[in-house]
């Protein structure tokens, strides 16, 4: 037995947790006062105290791991508020949005790369980095604005999960082709990824109405929290083992648990965990952003162009894919799909390690990914109130044509 409560490592993490959490909350406060989504303030708060600005904290492995746990808990909480019935009801726009949201950024990325005179494989990596949606940021904004139960929110969440599966498959195929090793392994990956999400969804359907006692089996637990938490960790591990993001596993776990009778209780018990660790995740992420790279003009321009192209492609994917949600709803979906995150970064790091991306191109794509992450919540803050209004108008208008109802909502 050594001394967990007295070691230097622990002071580091408590100190890091303190500084990052404080920065996150001060940033959130400032941004909410400005009428902006708090999560952007948390990201910038982390950036300000992080190694690229004031350097008060340098997040180590532990802080990053704790942040990773935070976003896992956040997506579990989002899953807990999502019903499979609602996802099925938005199946068509979600699938369309996901497919277009992968294809269009690929086209844009490849086109831009070819214009620059890059090799085809390099351009594919640029496209792939722009194609991967990160649902962490958007789901936080949706939860903050209290619109998780809206139709456009469900389309975004469903599309983001499908998007992650598609991106994983494409990464497998592209890196297989790039390394001349496309075969059984890639096939297994595809089957496992589709199977995981499919089986998870089926499990959620079967879990409907499961009694609370499943979790509080004699003596095992006083509350369903710890057993449900174990399910969350287990599926996050499984998802990551397959090659999907851990957060997809956590979301699926939330979906499953949400159908049981313990849903209400768990939704209350997971909130304190999410309220501490999710802001910590965003602050840790912010601390790792190097916005100072924007001071190099040629990098800044390339990154800005890529970011604008990337956001535009995703918005277009949403507007076309979720057309049936009306103008504002479809726009909300498109903007909601815009933030790239972990997966995009994994792609560029893979491209760098395969020698397909130059150091400058790597930096430019990386900054573009970061810019989409910071820009999306700001855009969402503008679009979502209108989309909500439009959706309410449709609901009130009953048989009205969508666009007409939205127009009516706008003129209010």
């Amino acid at each position: 037995m050594t001394a967990p409560a007295a070691g230097g490592a622990e002071l580091d993490i408590i100190l890091g947790l303190f500084v990052l959490l404080l920065a996150a909350k001060v940033g959130e406060e400032a941004f909410r006062r400005l009428g902006q989504p708090g999560v952007v303030g948390e990201l910038l708060g982390g950036f300000v105290v992080g190694p690229n600005a004031l350097a008060l904290v340098v997040p180590g492995e532990t802080a990053k791991a704790l942040g990773g746990l935070g976003v896992v808990v956040l997506l579990f909480a989002v899953g807990l508020e999502t019903r499979t019935d609602d996802l099925l009801r938005v199946g068509r726009p979600a699938v369309l949005t996901a497919v277009l949201g992968v294809v269009l950024p690929m086209v844009v990325g490849v086109g831009y790369g070819l214009l620059l005179g890059e090799e085809v494989f390099t351009t594919v990596f640029i496209g792939l980095a722009l194609a991967a949606t990160s649902i962490g940021i958007t789901s936080r904004v949706l939860a903050d604005l209290g619109v998780l139960e809206r139709r456009f929110s469900r389309v975004i969440i469903g599309a983001a999960v499908i998007d992650d599966v598609l991106a994983l498959i494409l990464i497998g195929i592209v890196s297989g082709v790039a390394s001349g090793d496309l075969g059984i392994a890639t096939l297994i990956l595809v089957v496992a990824a589709v199977g995981f999400v499919g089986l998870g969804f089926a499990a959620a359907r079967r879990a409907r109405g499961l009694r609370r006692e499943v979790f509080t089996w004699p003596l095992f637990a006083d509350t369903p929290l710890v057993p449900a938490f174990l399910v969350m960790l287990g599926l996050a591990i499984l998802a990551q083992w397959i090659g999907l993001a851990a957060i997809i596993g956590a979301f699926v776990a939330g979906l499953i648990v949400a159908e049981t009778e313990a849903q209400d209780e768990l939704e209350h018990e997971i909130r304190p965990l999410a309220s501490i660790f999710a802001p910590f995740f965003f602050a840790v992420t912010g601390a790792q952003i190097d916005l100072t790279a924007l001071l190099r003009p040629e990098l800044a321009i390339a990154a800005l162009v890529l970011a604008v192209l990337g956001v535009t492609a995703k918005v277009l994917g949403g507007v076309l894919g979720a057309r049936e949600l009306g103008r504002w709803g479809a726009l909300a979906v498109g903007v909601g799909m815009a933030p790239r995150g972990e997966v995009g970064i994994v792609v560029v790091q893979l491209g760098l390690s395969l020698g397909l991306l130059s150091s400058d191109l790597f930096s430019a794509v990386l900054i573009a990914v970061v810019l989409t992450t910071v820009a999306a919540p700001v855009l969402l803050g503008t679009v979502i109130p209108r989309a909500t209004l439009a959706e309410e108008a449709v609901a009130a208008g009953g048989g009205l044509d969508h666009d007409a109802a939205c127009a009516r909502a706008e003129t209010r």
Copy 2:
């Protein structure tokens, strides 16, 4: 921005969290079914999956840091359930118990060491390692049995805090003398340690009736949890910076917050956090126990003798120091003071690094510290129900003599 949600380090921690938490809950289940305190099952569950047994997980820096955070949250929760009024009411027995609980183990340790023919300084380190109480284990048992509001519980908690301050001061003096460097630094240490606990207590008295809005200042937070969590982290850092255990700072933070109007709300919100991270702490601790050292007979005997002496000295300290609580209450206090933890381990590591403890003596003292930690909750499980009964009898008997009331309770 790198990829917290996709890195290998994060899979490690999620996997480690999963395995250790599962082991902890299975162990807890088994021990509660056997009528034993669940925390022993959590410790043994951690040992079984840890590197000294099945080696399914090897807790790294991150797991230890997360465990350290767990025990910080646990002590904050204990502080939240403690009122300064109640602590003041048990001032005399708590101070007596703390002083005797340091002096008697010192006497026993020095005596045993001299019998073995060790040098005086070496014997002082043995005594010091036996003197430091760790409140983590006991407070968990008290919380599990729902007796935190009992008089004996308050004496234990108050005495453990004073004990930690005394132990810190003694460690400062002893290592100062050992390294021939006793001076201003030691004096500052003493003043800072006493000052921290004293000022914390005074702050708690001043915080009485503070409105909930102190924590939920406009927009800053929807719930008081995050601001209160920041207070906890801040005082934990301050305590550790002074040289006290981080958990003392967390306990003082809990004391302060407990006097405000947010107490009730926070008590509910901290529970989910404690229910995940406290078992994780005990499992991580268990994973670091090397019970296999007990297979070496000469080590096992030395460790057992030291453990028995150590527990006896602490029990005696409680029985004498808390005499006014009646026979069973005083016994509960003594047993509650028995588990040693981090501080004891820090002391032996210090002794080893100063060259005052041989490797074998180091191992023996370390195992003795671990044995007190595992034995105490088992003993508490037997003593506390009787102490509770006795206390109820006293309350019912009004003016009755304590021992008479206890005798009456026993004959029920």
